[in-house]
């Protein structure tokens, strides 16, 4: 009896602790979303209240959509993120296949060389990256961002994908070879479909830092036409710092896509982390 009671007590305390922390984690996000739908007076008078018909207002969103080109920023972020992920997955999978499938001179060395970037942040090369982009005439283009993010994402992608590719059965690939498939066909038609779950994990891991990055858009593509959502929100808020409705609405617009994607992909992401993809 005594043991059962302490166990109930223990579970209760654990729930209490976890609920408290969940509140701490979600409260600021909740506060922003709720207040973005309220009139200016209501934001200050009663910040915790949920918008009622009398306090409901979309004035913040109107300002944001009129003043900043948020759809354009959003489109830029989408293009940069999607294209970079596509390159990271394609190039990363190809390199991972070469490293895990074939034995050739320099294999280990190449693997170590490509893994360097997992620990050394690409940011440290910014001075010369900017110089190179200026020389190549790529400043203020989305191409510059795509190139940087592809290079940034490749090391981890290659590392994770080659771990997974080692688990693809050799018999299958050899059967393909006997049937006369080329090495390219073996890669694209046999191996790639089998590592699809790992590819999804890599895609999610690659996506978050790209979408959220402020440093490279600020340095390489600060022009109005190439602003990403993160940079756009940053600059907009800097300008409208006293317009609380507009600031809260801009924040909500920046949060929303991430939350939607997270709800869709959270199982994939969490399975990826917990299955030991990152070790």
């Amino acid at each position: 009896m005594a043991k059962a009671r302490t166990s109930y007590l223990r579970t209760g305390l654990i729930h209490l602790a976890l609920i408290s922390y969940t509140l701490i984690a979600l409260f600021p996000v909740f506060l922003t979303l709720v207040n973005s739908f309220k009139s200016r007076n209501a934001i200050f008078r009663d910040p915790m209240a949920i918008p009622t018909p009398s306090t409901f207002s979309l004035v913040g969103y109107e300002t944001v959509l009129k003043q900043g080109d948020f759809f354009g920023y959003f489109q830029n972020s989408m293009i940069v993120t999607v294209v970079s992920i596509a390159f990271v997955l394609l190039f990363g999978a190809m390199a991972a296949f070469a490293l895990s499938e074939y034995r050739f001179r320099g294999n280990l060395l190449m693997g170590l060389y490509l893994a360097l970037g997992i620990m050394i942040p690409i940011r440290l090369g910014t001075v010369a990256i900017l110089q190179g982009m200026v020389a190549a005439g790529l400043v203020n283009t989305l191409t510059a961002l795509v190139l940087v993010y592809t290079a940034q994402g490749l090391p981890l992608a290659i590392f994770i994908l080659s771990e997974f590719m080692r688990t693809v059965s050799d018999d299958l690939k050899n059967a393909g070879r006997i049937d006369g498939l080329s090495e390219y066909a073996i890669f694209f038609r046999l191996v790639l479909p089998l590592v699809r779950p790992a590819m999804a994990t890599v895609a999610v891991f690659t996506m978050i830092p790209i979408w959220n990055d402020l440093w490279f858009p600020l340095i390489l593509a600060p022009g109005e036409a190439t602003k990403t959502v993160t940079l756009g929100a940053q600059m907009f808020i800097g300008q409208f710092v006293t317009n609380w409705n507009a600031v809260l609405s801009a924040l909500s617009l920046a949060i929303l896509p991430v939350l939607v994607l997270y709800v869709i992909f959270s199982r994939q992401l969490i399975r990826g982390i917990t299955s030991g993809a990152v070790k």
Binding site: R10, T11, I14, H15, A17, L18, Y21, T22, A25, P28, V29, L31, T32, F44, P47, F87, F91, M94, A95, A98, L99, Y102, M110, L114, G117, M119, I120, P121, R123, L124, G125, T126, V127, A128, G132, L147, V148, A151, Q152, L154, I158, S182, Y184, F187, W211, N212, D213, L214, T230, A233, I237, W244, V247, L251, V258, L259, S266, I270, S275, K279
Partner: protein
């Protein structure tokens, strides 16, 4: 490749057909990675040894570093940023990682209800960008809006409120804690994964010996997850000494008040691009980037060659 094989028959005694496909598979990743990441990194390191003299770029050896470490104005900024960065890192190690481990330990209690929900919710801040996180907290802690004071009033702590972000003595700690709030999800997830990987038999054997609850955590689980704690520590280290975005969004490029939240990332940004009345300086920027590179390299090497070797890995 085939040229090398025929020219050097001793290394490749068996004549194989040229395996061009290996090259094709490796080339795109290798080229992009080398051109956009490795070469600029090397170029940056090289630039730190050059400076402009009479509008000519000349080799100056280590004089940029000497300037950085001893010039009255620059050195003061540099040592301040380095010291702040160190505090930033220590706060993460002391607050973020223990909370992460505690949350993971609670989540991994068998048959806990709503565990998926907690896990998903606590990870949300990690996905948000620094811009969002920075501004949300700036608003919450702002004395104008008054969310923080009225929240503290609920628990009778209103007297303890202060505009923390505006005071030099508390600003750095506040910014660090905001960053901890954002990133606690990462140690939580990695430790959670490590705890799930502990085999059931080990825990059953411990229970047979009467080791349960707290002592089970300290004596059995903690030693088994030490390698993951090592990984978290090095990830935190690299992330912290490369941080920029949060300080930039919360306190601006000047990292105020009075430089009290200046870290190496913001110092690099200001030095390289210039800010207000300060001119941008490419060579000095490269020098600071090189120092950051050396710090990170030292940390990673320490981890790989000393810490990782000492931690025993248990294979199941």
């Amino acid at each position: 490749m085939s040229d090398i094989d025929t020219a050097d028959p001793e290394i490749a005694p068996i004549k194989r057909p040229a395996r061009w496909h290996i090259l094709v598979f490796l080339a795109p990743a290798f080229l992009v990675y080398t051109a956009v990441m490795i070469l600029p990194l090397i170029e940056t390191l090289r630039l730190s040894l050059y400076n402009l003299v009479d509008n000519q770029t000349v080799f100056v050896g280590l004089s940029n570093f000497i300037t950085l470490f001893s010039d009255p104005r620059l050195a003061a900024n540099f040592w301040n940023a380095l010291w702040n960065n160190l505090i930033f890192f220590v706060i993460h190690m002391l607050v973020q990682n223990p909370i992460g481990v505690a949350l993971a330990a609670m989540l991994s209690v068998p048959k806990l209800r709503f565990a998926t929900f907690y896990r998903t919710a606590i990870f949300v801040p990690t996905l948000l960008s620094f811009v969002i996180v920075g501004f949300i907290w700036k608003l919450i802690l702002s004395p104008i809006w008054g969310i923080a004071p009225s929240m503290m009033d609920l628990v009778g702590l209103k007297w303890a409120f202060a505009p923390w972000l505006g005071r030099p003595e508390s600003a750095l700690i506040t910014v660090s804690l905001i960053s901890v709030w954002q990133y606690v999800g990462i140690p939580m997830m990695l430790i959670y994964a490590a705890l799930l990987n502990i085999p059931e038999e080990v825990l059953e054997a411990a229970e047979c010996d009467g080791i349960t609850g707290w002592s089970q955590f300290w004596k059995i689980k903690l030693p088994l997850i030490l390698p993951s704690i090592g990984i978290i520590s090095i990830l935190t280290f690299v992330g912290n000494f490369n941080a920029f975005d949060l300080v930039y969004t919360v306190q601006g490029a000047l990292a105020g008040p009075d430089g009290s939240t200046d870290i190496l990332g913001t110092l690099l940004y200001r030095t390289f691009f210039g800010f207000q009345n300060q001119m941008g300086d490419r060579s000095m920027g490269a020098t600071i980037a090189t120092v950051m590179f050396l710090i990170i390299l030292a940390g990673v090497s320490l981890y790989l060659f000393v810490i990782q070797r000492r931690i025993r890995r248990y294979q199941f």
